[in-house]
């Protein structure tokens, strides 16, 4: 116990040294003033000390503690209870807009949009194992295709929705072709570069995209020619996003169990073995990119219709990072996990205002924490769990030394 405390104190002192300049001193080089914030150092030291001692205690009692958070809760495996829970959830989701203000509905719509984006990215990252850091580019393609088609040709929402999805899919294939040969980490960087190129073009090509000022006055989706009040339109978009979400969940689940879905998972696990089994690597990767991108494109169209305004500032790398952290936290490859991840990540900062400033800080910390402590996310991937290979288990034991 004494040794633990000493270790905790040592770590705390190290972190106090580490954060000394950034946390304590705040300078204004123009007016030549300095603010010393020594209290920060004390708080930080105390927090690190407690976290280290508790963390070390937990990691020593890992096996006993992990019983509290098994991969699938036994209650959820009960089919009747699962069905009951689903019905309750469906009712809640349907009735939600009737009892809450437009503001609340808007937030929920955003959360659902991120859930769909997460599910789309999940196809690429979770199932096919291709780390895509430029996912927001396809979202931008969808949003801008609706905005521009509407501006130039007066195209309506319902015509733009499939076109946006299709255009995004085409961009997905365009990006997919050149990067087919690349390995995981190079792929990540190229997709990141691709996403930034799309954003920079939107920002600088004024004749095409109206530059940083963006495009305003995009019409909301129509409903058989009815004119809706703003409140009704918000509610209508909520139901549209909910519907899209349900369709996405259905399609993604079916895809995962289909021939192509199994090919994705095989590709993720071992590319060479997968090719040896006769799976066409090119086709498999390209469909993953195209299908993942098409969801982003459709959500992009919805986003443009919801905000009635698009500009390049909505499509920064930060958005890609948020969507990726949703997928990572939820559990790569798990549908339920991604939906829960999106709701947690988008709703929590909205309702805990004090916490909103720390949102991105926590996103980053959670991404590291999940990878180090629980790589399978909140809800582990069911397929991975069902076949525990003795070899893989042995490998992991070695890895944890």
């Amino acid at each position: 116990m004494w040794a633990e405390l000493k270790k905790g104190a040592a770590v705390a002192v190290w972190f106090m040294f580490l954060t000394l300049p950034i946390m304590v001193v705040k300078v204004n080089p123009i007016e030549q003033t300095v603010v010393w914030r020594w209290a920060n150092l004390v708080w930080l030291g105390a927090a690190v000390f407690v976290l280290t001692v508790v963390g070390r205690y937990c990691s020593r009692h890992r096996t006993e503690l992990s019983a509290f958070w098994p991969d699938a809760h036994p209650l959820l495996a009960h089919p009747q209870l699962k069905r009951f829970l689903l019905i309750v959830l469906a009712l809640l989701a349907t009735l939600f807009p009737l009892f809450f203000s437009s503001y609340q509905i808007n937030i929920m719509t955003t959360a659902l949009m991120y859930a769909v984006l997460g599910l789309g990215l999940n196809i690429v990252v979770g199932l096919a194992g291709l780390l895509d850091l430029g996912y927001v580019a396809f979202y931008a393609v969808g949003a801008y295709s609706y905005a521009l088609l509407n501006y130039h040709f007066g195209l309506g929402f319902w015509a733009a929705l499939p076109i946006g999805g299709l255009l995004a899919a085409i961009f997905g294939v365009l990006l997919g072709f050149p990067v087919l040969r690349l390995r995981g980490d190079y792929l990540a960087i190229v997709t990141l570069g691709f996403g930034e190129i799309i954003r920079l073009i939107l920002e600088n090509w004024n004749d095409f995209s109206f530059g940083p000022s963006g495009i305003a006055g995009i019409p909301r989706p129509g409903l058989f020619g009815l004119t809706l009040s703003v409140d009704d339109a918000i509610m209508y978009i909520y139901y549209l996003v909910l519907l899209l979400g349900l369709i996405t969940i259905f399609v993604v689940n079916r895809l995962r169990d289909s021939r192509i879905g199994r090919a994705w998972i095989a590709l993720r696990e071992d590319e060479i073995a997968c090719q040896a089994m006769g799976i066409d690597k090119t086709k498999t990767k390209l469909t993953a990119f195209a299908l993942g991108a098409s969801w982003a494109g459709m959500v992009g169209v919805l986003f443009a219709a919801k905000t009635t305004f698009v500009n390049p500032a909505s499509f920064t790398f930060l958005e890609s990072a948020i969507i990726l952290s949703i997928v990572v936290l939820g559990g790569m490859g798990s549908t339920v996990g991604v939906v829960i991840g999106a709701l947690v990540f988008i709703l929590l900062p909205e309702y805990l205002r004090a916490f909103a400033d720390y949102r991105m800080l926590l996103f980053g910390a959670i991404m590291v924490g999940v990878m180090v402590f629980r790589p399978q996310g909140i809800i582990g991937n069911p397929r991975r769990r069902s076949y525990p290979l003795p070899m893989a288990a042995a490998d992991q034991e070695v890895g944890h030394e």
Binding site: N28, V125, I189, S325, I366, M367, V368, M371, V372, G399
Partner: protein, 300 residues
């Protein structure tokens, strides 16, 4: 001709800074095969530490040269400490995990560090004091090369030389090369691989800190997000030269610096960053192993 020379030297200055950052990427990649996404943030933290230190010391009334030296020293010390800590927290536990895990962890670390500085310091651009003095004898050539350009070039050259001596001539350098070639074999031969990896992170971070101080002093302002773009560009440079290769990183950085400088000078400055990204995408498609990199066959 004068315009050409101006662009040539500004490209060379840019390239030198990229080289200082790119070396960190390439050394880490050479040893543990990981793209250290948080490396750009280490550079940013180096610049911030130098800013804080320089302002405090100026207020305390130290002479400018002492301020420059001490702030650069502080930046190196703290950046190295951050590099060491990041490796210990985010990468070491994942050394045997699937390839994607450390990469995602690195991206998380990068986001964390950016927002840490954003919250602890400020979201605005902060003006950085001009630490490098103006040399009077350079006055006639001011339009072609400034004194901070000259200091950057000389510092980079000296640092490269020291690094080469370290890698080629010292015991730890030999251990680093051995670990890069075959980590398990190095372990069997009694090399403390964990120590070697830590040293690599410390050296890479120190180089990034030097780059951070120099560029911040050259440009005159910094904010919490400068590491992202600088990191991507330095990574591009490292890949261009062949990731894992130290001379390759320098060569790639200079090429990238010139490409950017001439492209913005002769074509358009709106698309400055697009050139770098487009170059990156093109290299990875046509020659993923880079100019000086070796091609690795994938094995089962």
């Amino acid at each position: 001709m004068e315009y050409f020379l101006e662009l040539f030297f500004s490209g060379l200055t840019r390239g030198s800074i990229y080289a200082l950052i790119a070396l960190g990427y390439t050394m880490v990649y050479g040893i543990i095969g990981l793209i250290n996404f948080a490396h750009g943030e280490i550079y940013m933290i180096g610049a911030f530490t130098a800013l804080i230190c320089a302002t405090v010391l100026t207020i305390w009334g130290l002479p400018p040269l002492a301020v420059l030296g001490l702030s650069a020293f502080a930046a190196i010390i703290w950046s190295a400490a951050y590099g060491l800590t990041v490796e210990r927290i985010a990468y070491r536990p994942l050394r045997h995990a699937p390839r994607l895990s450390p990469l995602i962890s690195a991206i998380g670390m990068s986001i964390f560090l950016q927002n840490y500085v954003l919250l602890a310091q400020t979201a605005d651009f902060v003006s950085f004091p001009a630490l490098i003095p103006d040399f009077a004898w350079l006055e006639p050539y001011r339009s072609i090369i400034g004194s901070s350009d000259l200091v950057i070039l000389l510092t980079t050259a000296v640092v490269m030389l020291l690094l080469t001596i370290l890698i080629k001539g010292t015991k730890i350098g030999r251990a680093m090369r051995a670990t890069a070639q075959d980590r398990e074999m190095a372990l069997l031969l009694g090399i403390d691989v964990n120590l070697v990896i830590s040293v690599t992170f410390v050296i890479g971070s120190a180089l990034a800190a030097i780059g951070g101080v120099l560029i911040a002093s050259h440009i005159g302002q910094i904010n919490f997000a400068i590491g992202f773009l600088a990191g991507i560009k330095a990574f591009t440079a490292a890949v261009l030269g062949g990731i894992g290769s130290v001379p390759g990183a320098v060569l790639g950085s200079l090429l990238l610096g010139w490409t950017e400088s001439f492209a913005t000078g002769y074509i358009s400055s709106d698309y400055e960053d697009v050139f770098a990204f487009a170059l990156l995408v093109l290299i990875l498609i046509f020659r993923p192993s880079g100019i000086l990199g070796r091609h690795h066959n994938q094995k089962v």
